[in-house]
Subunit: 359 residues, 2 copies
């Protein structure tokens, strides 16, 4: 069954009148089309019953690959009001309307003003039911993306590090991702020495030097599916405390991996990693959740975080990425994507997990 038809089944079952999808990964997941993140509205109107319609700016309409058996294309011209066009395609004006999470506020507020009797809610509780569980083709795509990223991780063991700045290495990682088969590069964090303590560090002009540990967290897309992996590199001799922290981190990541299987609550995977790190005395330095789902979006459901009691299920793909961050000194993180099989988890990243010593 086509994905849009499955969504319509869910909408009808929940009594939701229509689903409106704009920016974010829902739209490409259901229609194959990526909206441009601009002020001209692109929005798919998926009613619980009947024909789905993709409302798209006229000058972007040529970018849409038609799927006439799945949705109709309705281009809107520069002097039309696209919100009115969307409203015209709703089955009713006072039903429940589910809106994609990344839709811009300006459009939600306009829709609410026009549809004063409708009840708006997030589309994610429905779309996630489909997107979270990957089918065989999706797992294959995630595996290919992971293998491509792994080839970059392996090549990074042999490049020069000392004397270059973070931005320069980040640019090289981006180039390598493309060389190894990525269509798009989404991010290439290079965080050296004390900068490693900032988990989402933006690469700077800081020059990497002997004694640094460098966190490299990178990913992108291969055929619309995402990669995301983190490895660390020690330039020359490794400080004793860092070496010990790395052993702890690797054990924590392994513990989470061994815990992950269908039926286990998402938070239990987080707890498994956190326990190992806390027991070793680094608890307060692990400042983020253990992982996030991945698919057509780098971060999606399920989130591997304390408080998420949702049972994991076969086909779910997510990151396991504990980290230890000591402000002002260093940071380390180790990240693999895994996918759940009937009785456990399979890693989709398999580059070496040691703290690589580099030049």
């Amino acid at each position: 069954m086509k994905r849009i038809a499955k969504l319509q089944e869910l909408l009808a079952g929940e009594g939701v009148s229509a689903c409106l999808l704009s920016l974010g990964a829902d739209l490409p997941y259901f229609t194959g089309y990526h909206a441009m993140p601009l002020e001209r509205l692109t929005m798919a109107v998926v009613p619980a019953e009947g024909e789905a319609v993709l409302v798209v700016p006229e000058l972007e309409a040529p970018r849409v690959v038609p799927r006439p058996d799945e949705f109709r294309i309705r281009p809107w011209g520069e002097t039309e009001d696209p919100v009115e066009v969307v409203v015209d395609h709703l089955p009713e004006r006072d039903g429940r309307v589910a809106v994609g999470d990344q839709t811009w506020a300006v459009f939600v507020l306009r829709l609410q003003a026009v549809l004063a009797q409708a009840r708006f809610e997030s589309a994610t509780p429905l779309t996630r039911l489909l997107r979270m569980r990957k089918d065989d083709a999706e797992v294959k795509a995630l595996r290919a993306a992971g293998e491509s990223a792994d080839r970059v991780a392996v090549r990074l063991r042999d490049i020069e590090w000392a004397g270059r700045n973070e931005r320069d290495v980040s640019t090289q990682i981006g180039r390598m991702l493309r060389e190894e088969g990525h269509d798009h590069v989404e991010f290439a964090i290079v965080a050296s020495g004390p900068n490693g303590a900032s988990p989402h560090h933006e690469p700077t002009d800081r020059v990497i030097e002997g004694g640094d540990v460098v966190v490299c967290d990178f990913g992108g897309r291969v055929d619309d599916y995402c990669s995301d992996t983190t490895r660390c590199f020690a330039v020359g001799d490794v400080d004793h405390e860092v070496a010990r922290a790395w052993d702890v981190l690797q054990a924590a990541q392994q513990a989470a991996f061994e815990t992950a299987r269908p039926g286990i609550a998402a938070q239990d995977v987080d707890r498994a990693a956190r326990r190992v790190i806390a027991d070793a005395g680094f608890g307060k330095h692990f400042v983020h959740r253990t992982g996030h789902g991945i698919g057509t979006e780098t971060h999606e459901h399920p989130y591997i975080v304390e408080g998420n009691k949702e049972p994991l299920d076969e086909g779910m793909a997510f990151s396991i990425e504990p980290g230890i961050y000591v402000a002002g000194r260093f940071g380390i993180r180790l990240e693999d994507i895994v996918v759940l099989t009937a009785d456990g988890a399979e890693r989709l990243n398999n580059s070496p997990r040691d703290l690589a010593v580099v030049r």
Copy 2:
């Protein structure tokens, strides 16, 4: 006066209780900080009176450059609810709340659920009043971005075109933008032959060949201000009709440029370009508005479009970019950024405006 203080003055004057800024260019415009486009909420709470607060994920907080005299930083931890943190910093629960246009729907809907008595509206009618009129430092930044893009436009006249695919040329344009001083590349459209008829064409594997006209529309950021320019390149001999269309296009762009000055309605600039193209018989092939404002965002107010009767004013910066698109055959577009001076407009792009003949 600091920008946040100016915004607070506007909020107080309009009776708006607070402004909430998340993704998009408002947040960096007012705080210097770019939020990451991820599921963890970053949001500045700017009350009409009192201290502004930047609510930011704990693991991204190290990325914020503090401005303690302008706003306080409130990191939130992985098991906190950031929407509750935002609500706690509002001066009241039932006032008017202005929300940045690109804030994700999921956060707007959550805020609305918690603040059932508040009235939500777009922040843009207020923020645009500040952002639209560029001060001297901003004009200087836009000029530098324009000059950097112009150097790329000039270099493109001497590269090889025939036999290479669009994606390859697009990658080269991105590299050139960085070489010429851009910090970030936002887009590099390369649309060859019949692909040129799609104004927002995504570069493909299509191999450029003799007889093609290639539309190159590219831009990015220099010191947080945007560039955006379009030039076209003819590979070898130019078809007679294309040459004639180019002359019309250049005249249309010049007519719009000469019309643009303080006091003129935005739509009159659009009409000036459109009239020239229509008079030459290409009217139905000019399928988009004539331009958009530019600053810390590539597309912002004012929009140069039929229906926008707003008078233009000194300091406003926007694109003038008419195009002619003949489906299945070719497309052309010519784009400069201009800024309004006391008695006219100044072009911030000044690379040659001919249809360059290339190899």
